[in-house]
């Protein structure tokens, strides 16, 4: 990860400027993200967003009069490591609250530990509905569920020309990919669209040619792809190589960044469902907040397309910070209670939690906004 000198200087200056006013003991927030492995690109984006939020909070006087310190653990794109990371954060670093763990699979794996030790977690990316319906009162999700994503996409169906009549699916074969294809299938059927073929792929596969060949002659006009940045890029590239006739729509909020520099064939268009579009910041619910975030990101020297996921880390930390301020304490139980009352204006939009799940053990769920963009010849525009 490249940290520009300017960012380091501003962080240093900000910290030094704020230091005299702050007490010694920092407030700690744990972060569990995939910094290496199959989905490392996204994990790094989210973590950078989190860092920006922490820097901003510290510049403005910290939390409860103290410095905010992020303790970042790499869950290595693996559910077992996610459990290890959570235990390290809770037992060794004694964090009162965590943000994580990116993929639904890692989050689901972490959840029993949250209940065991009584530590709340703000879920910034995972979209499987199982997370908020499992009856875990320590979970608060700001990201949309796949069902919400599908519903939001339904509102965008008319923007596609030629209209979508029959869809295929290519999903990563874990909770996220499979859950997404299920929810989207339900939505498409409800809108009278035919379902073609469904293919799956393992998370670290780089050669998708077999799956793509199988999808070539299905007669569908659209292919819905759900996976991380790396696989979306490879999938789109290889689909173009094999001359797949379907137009490609990606879901889950990841953007195939490498295609900006190395675009597909001339005129090749793909559409992407995002939860924040840095190319059209004016469409955000709070353009000033979105704009300020984009500026801070660019100043830090992070890659521009990473904004489409980096905002999650930012919104997540801001949400936790609001809860801590509201609770006036760094006790896990107090933070958990306070999370129910947060009302934050984030980069994606307004954040607050409603109850979801079995009665008495509800988790918190937010209702975020969805944006659709189009990528053509290395340029992005609104769909």
């Amino acid at each position: 990860m490249a940290i520009s000198k300017r960012y380091l200087t501003s962080l240093l200056v900000g910290t030094l400027a704020a230091t005299p006013a702050l007490a010694a003991d920092p407030v700690k927030i744990g972060v569990s993200q995939p910094l290496t492995g199959a989905v490392a690109a996204s994990g790094n984006y989210v973590t950078n967003g989190a860092r920006l939020a922490a820097a901003e909070i510290n510049e403005n006087g910290g939390l409860l009069g103290r410095q905010l310190e992020l303790i970042i653990e790499d869950n290595k794109s693996n559910p077992r490591e996610a459990v290890n990371a959570a235990e390290k954060l809770i037992l060794r670093d004694k964090v009162p609250v965590i943000m994580g763990a990116w993929s639904s699979t890692y989050t689901l794996a972490t959840m029993p530990k949250l209940e065991e030790y009584g530590v709340p977690m703000v879920v910034e990316t995972s979209s499987s509905s199982k997370i908020t319906t499992a009856g875990n009162p320590w979970i608060f999700r700001i990201a949309p569920t796949s069902a919400m994503e599908a519903q939001a996409f339904a509102k965008n169906l008319s923007s596609f020309n030629p209209p979508i009549k029959k869809v295929d699916f290519l999903s990563v074969n874990n909770d996220w990919g499979l859950g997404a294809s299920q929810e989207f299938e339900k939505m498409f059927k409800a809108n009278g669209i035919e379902i073609g073929q469904k293919e799956t792929v393992a998370p670290d596969t780089v050669d998708l040619s077999a799956q793509l060949s199988a999808l070539k002659d299905t007669g569908s006009d659209t292919l819905i792809m759900t996976s991380g940045v790396e696989q979306l890029t490879l999938g789109i590239r290889q689909a173009a190589e094999q001359q797949l006739p379907q137009r490609i729509v990606t879901t889950g909020g990841s953007f195939p960044e490498p295609l900006l520099e190395s675009p597909g064939p001339k005129g090749y268009t793909s559409s992407h469902l995002l939860f924040f579009s840095p190319w059209t910041p004016e469409s955000a619910v709070h353009p000033e907040i979105a704009g300020a975030f984009v500026d801070a990101w660019n100043e830090a020297g992070y890659s521009f397309p990473g904004l489409s996921e980096g905002f999650r880390g930012y919104d997540g930390i801001m949400t936790i910070a609001a809860a801590i301020e509201d609770a006036g304490s760094t006790e896990s139980e107090a933070i958990r209670a306070a999370l129910w009352n947060v009302q934050v204006e984030g980069v994606n939009g307004d954040i607050s939690f409603f109850k979801q799940g079995p009665a008495g053990k509800e988790s918190g769920q937010n209702e975020p906004n969805v944006y659709v963009v189009q990528l053509k010849d290395g340029k992005v525009s609104a769909q």
């Binding site: 559910p79 794996a109 074969n173 874990n174 909770d175």
Partner: protein, 348 residues
């Protein structure tokens, strides 16, 4: 084997949770302990029988998955319309099944792999582990694939006065691992000093010679592999019910490499080797955590392993014993020194 030293060591380890009750420290010791058990099992094959089996993570993983599957119960369609359904079994039964099943796979791999020797053998064992990984990754009906198996039930023990207790506290897990570890160590210790053990060592030293004096090579190779695999399977089962989540990455080559480093650095073919190696390489990641990135740590381990292989090829434990012997007899002047003394005498 030095019984007094062993008893003291076990006593100290047993009292550790009272001396240092921090749950994080105990969980680190527990994980190190599980890897040590796996290393002890690998040592039987690698150190005593001289077979460089580099697919040992396969046995660890098979043990873990078998135990998890048996304790959760499963229901799969194995083609031709036949479903294989097993109800959830008590954890102890699942654990025992895992040991037996892994032993069986050990026998299977042994049969396969011992048709060839040397480098070919190594490659087959590695391939076996990779194939197991692919299967666990893709047979999602059975293993949940990359989503992993979660909510694996813990061990439970009947304690007089408390009834059936789930072994979930870090201290309880630590003691459980310690118990299995001591049992594994004792088993290996007794094995290598028995007739069977000596036959295995003869195999390692010179296979052709061993055959010529009538040692049934294949029989002992099979015995060694079965026991080695079974112990590794026990380690895997322990892992499944203490960490309570497993995924196909348990089959990764990197875990085999970790076990190999522990055995080789500690001293292959010695009883204490895998334990010392396991303690060092099991605890180093924790001690270096926070100060040094994991990638840098692994570079350090790699370099350590290379240095030990180049300069102390028998491992740390034998080198330590050599050092003790050297200290004990200060009267023994090294050869260079004696030549120098003689040379100066001749000159004058």
């Amino acid at each position: 084997m030095n019984w007094k030293l062993f008893a003291i060591f076990v006593l100290v380890l047993g009292l550790l949770p009272f001396l240092w009750p921090d749950p994080y420290f105990l969980s680190v010791m527990g994980s190190a302990g599980i890897m040590i058990i796996a290393a002890i099992s690998l040592n039987l094959l690698l150190g005593y029988t001289g077979q460089l089996s580099l697919g040992h993570a396969a046995f660890f993983g098979i043990g873990a998955y078998t135990s998890a599957l048996m304790s959760l119960g499963f229901d799969v369609d194995i083609g031709f319309g036949i479903t294989w359904q097993v109800d959830a079994k008590p954890v102890w039964l699942a654990f025992a099944t895992a040991i037996v099943v892994t032993g069986f796979f050990g026998w299977l791999v042994g049969k396969l792999a011992f048709k060839v020797r040397g480098a070919y053998f190594v490659v087959i064992t590695i391939s076996f582990a990779q194939v197991m990984r692919m299967i666990s990754l893709n047979w999602t009906d059975l293993t949940e694939g990359p989503m992993g198996m979660i909510s694996i039930p813990p061990f439970s023990l009947w304690i007089p006065g408390e009834g059936l207790m789930n072994l979930t506290s870090k201290a309880a897990i630590y003691w459980l691992v310690l118990t299995v570890g001591v049992l594994a160590y004792l088993l290996i210790a007794m094995l290598v000093s028995s007739r069977q053990g000596r036959a295995m060592i003869a195999l390692r030293e010179n296979e052709t010679l061993a055959t010529s004096v009538g040692i049934p090579v294949t029989y002992f190779l099979a015995l060694a592999t079965i026991i080695s695999a079974a112990i590794a399977g026990a380690a895997g089962g322990l892992y499944a019910h203490t960490v309570r989540i497993i995924d196909p990455d348990v089959f990764l080559f990197i875990y085999t490499v970790t076990m190999v480093i522990m055995v080789v650095a500690g001293g292959k073919g010695t009883l204490g080797g895998p334990v010392i190696g396991g303690l060092i390489f099991g605890l180093m990641p924790e001690m270096l955590r926070g100060t040094v990135q994991p990638e840098v740590q692994w570079v350090i381990y790699g370099i350590t392993m290379i240095v030990i292989l180049l300069f102390l090829p028998r491992g740390l434990v034998p080198a330590f014993y050599d050092f003790i012997a050297w200290i004990r007899s200060p009267g023994a002047i090294p050869e260079r020194e004696s030549r120098r003394v003689l040379a100066t005498e001749v000159k004058s």
